[in-house]
């Protein structure tokens, strides 16, 4: 009854990083109550995936072949049935776009409470889960008074599990009710394949909501020109249609790791940071000293960008 079931995630032939982070979170949670860590891997090259997932602390891996890619109807049914068979205390998955496309449905079917986007899990004295609230300005502890729970973990918060395990790898054959498969994945599309690849740039001048108006982007382009840099952006700029999608840095855009990343008027929401934390030097220009971008910036100017940027351009002209 104190077992943990973690559901791996893969896409287009590759296991996603969060799958290995789930092994770490799952092992720690199973450890507290002396339970086993079960892992489910559904669809695609399950045997190859199972070998890769067979790392330290994994007790059993359940492979399910019902197609190639993710389909939420299949995942919902398979995970619900596996949970009924294994009867885990906790079910873990990644807090990802696909995770959030099936996990709430599984929680409803099992009747277990769901806490999403966990950044910390403690089961030493009843289950409590840490997650951000109020747009990252606060961190809350959610106490879960239930025998069972479903948790999704934020990618990048737990280290990837390593080592080689001796898990039993067992195929699981679910009973899929075709009537309930009412969605069909037709394919994939790469978006924003433009002529500029921001992930190749050595220096990025990146602009966010703080720029306020589309016409102010000229200022950012002028700075980029003066520095010989490339312009990139955070999500709101692309949502507004002010810059094309291929300029977007972040979870749903591109991951970049330039030598220098200058974030201008960017608050530094977790989705943005996920795409640029690999930059060698991060410089922030933002007038809000409590903006999360300052949690990762190496250098900063807490001032009005409309004063600082023109002064900076002047330094590099003539």
């Amino acid at each position: 009854m104190s077992d943990v079931l973690a559901v791996a995630e893969h896409r287009r032939g590759e296991l996603r990083d969060v799958s290995f982070e789930l092994l770490t979170a799952g092992r720690r949670l199973a450890e507290v109550n002396g339970g086993d860590l079960h892992v489910a891997v559904i669809n695609g090259a399950v045997e190859e995936f199972a070998d890769a997932l067979n790392r330290d602390g994994v007790d059993a891996i359940h492979t399910v072949s019902q197609g190639e890619e993710f389909n939420h109807n299949i995942y919902t049914q398979v995970v619900t049935q596996l949970a009924a068979e294994i009867d885990p205390q906790y079910l873990l998955a990644g807090n990802t776009v696909n995770g959030l496309d099936y996990v709430p449905a599984v929680a409803e079917r099992l009747g277990y409470p769901l806490v999403t986007d966990a950044v910390g899990i403690d089961d030493s004295d009843g289950l409590s889960v840490t997650r951000e609230l109020y747009a990252g300005k606060t961190e809350g502890t959610v106490s879960v008074e239930s025998e069972n729970a479903v948790l999704t973990i934020r990618p990048g918060e737990w280290p990837a599990q390593d080592g080689v395990g001796d898990a039993a790898i067992e195929p699981f054959d679910p009973a899929i009710d075709d009537e309930t498969v009412r969605s069909t994945v037709k394919g994939y599309e790469e978006v924003g394949a433009g002529d500029v690849d921001i992930s190749d740039a050595d220096v990025l001048v990146s602009v966010g909501r703080g720029i306020e108006e589309e016409e102010n982007l000229e200022l950012i382009q002028d700075l980029a020109d003066a520095l010989g840099a490339t312009v990139s952006a955070s999500r709101p700029i692309v949502d507004n249609g002010w810059l094309p999608q291929d300029r977007q840095v972040g979870q749903s855009g591109k991951s970049v790791s330039p030598d220098v990343y200058i974030a201008i008027g960017i608050s530094g929401a977790v989705q943005h940071v996920a795409g640029m934390k690999g930059a060698e030097t991060i410089i922030a220009i933002n007038d809000d000293p409590s903006a999360p971008i300052y949690d990762i910036a190496d250098y900063g100017i807490v001032d009005d960008l409309f004063d600082v940027v023109p002064a900076l351009i002047e330094q590099f002209s003539g």
């Binding site: 993710f70 409803e108 409470p113 999403t116 986007d117 606060t138 961190e139 809350g140 003066a226 600082v308």
Partner: protein, 259 residues
């Protein structure tokens, strides 16, 4: 065709705030229409403008205060609104997506819409699960994180925005709940005419009992709320813009930028 849009009001915290009894002090909060829901409303209104005989109904869980936000949705073109509340809900934990979904499920059962549009998440608590929980409760098909939507013959063809600049193209049978991502459209501003008309539009207040919803106690409780300790070790340049810009320029040149 009937489209139901779930509309949430979000609480935004000021830069400076106090935490009292595990909530942010009311005086430091301002309330606004959830950004994701703004796109969901726009998508529904565009579908109603493009099609014949499409009704757009909004459903919101919240106290009387949220009527201002609901009127905004009506001013942008929704036809009528439902507000779900009774004072007992003030003591319930809306951190629990299943509870919130149960209340909305009551409205969906009553209205029987062909399509439910919901924001991917709310900007304050960012749970991101209400739409899919709702679909599971009312046995609708669903799709999460949709940034492109076309309807034809009872099927929604959607693009789901996956991580890393990849979109999944999926066909979803109606009735369905779709959670709408920002950037799917350009939300309009409410016109003065729209704002005037919104005052006349129907806004029904329903209790959970009216909707045949019985909420059990949630197993989830918020037991602590803190401001995370800043991990910042940013070296700040201080002074007038001319001074800070000079220092930054020096740093950039040292790193071989713009040299």
């Amino acid at each position: 065709m009937k489209i139901l849009v779930t509309v949430t009001e979000v609480a935004n915290a000021d830069d400076e705030f106090d935490i009292v009894d595990n909530t942010i002090d009311e005086s430091s909060l301002t309330y606004d229409l959830n950004e994701w829901d703004d796109y969901a409303i726009e998508e529904a209104v565009q579908l109603s403008e493009a099609g014949e005989d499409v009704e757009v109904v909004t459903a919101t869980v919240g106290p009387e205060r949220v009527e201002e936000t609901i009127r905004t949705a009506l001013a942008k073109g929704a036809d009528r609104a439902i507000r779900i509340w009774d004072d007992e809900l003030a003591t319930k934990s809306l951190l629990d997506p299943s509870q919130k979904a149960s209340l909305l499920a009551g409205a969906v059962e009553e209205e029987a819409p062909d399509l439910v549009l919901s924001g991917v998440q709310s900007g304050d608590v960012s749970i991101g699960a209400t739409g899919v929980s709702l679909a599971a409760q009312v046995d609708y098909e669903w799709g999460a994180v949709v940034n492109d939507l076309e309807l034809s013959d009872g099927v929604a063809t959607v693009h789901r925005e996956l991580e890393g600049g990849v979109e999944e193209i999926t066909e979803i049978e109606l009735p369905a709940v779709l959670t709408i991502q920002t950037g799917i459209n350009e939300p309009r501003y409410a016109s003065l005419r729209g704002i005037r008309q919104a005052q006349q539009k129907q806004l029904d207040v329903k209790s959970p009992e009216d909707l045949d919803v019985e909420l059990a106690a949630s197993p989830l409780t918020l037991t602590d709320l803190v401001v995370p300790e800043s991990e910042s070790d940013t070296e700040l340049f201080e002074g007038a813009p001319s001074e800070t810009a000079t220092e930054l320029a020096e740093l950039l040149r040292e790193k071989g930028v713009g040299a």
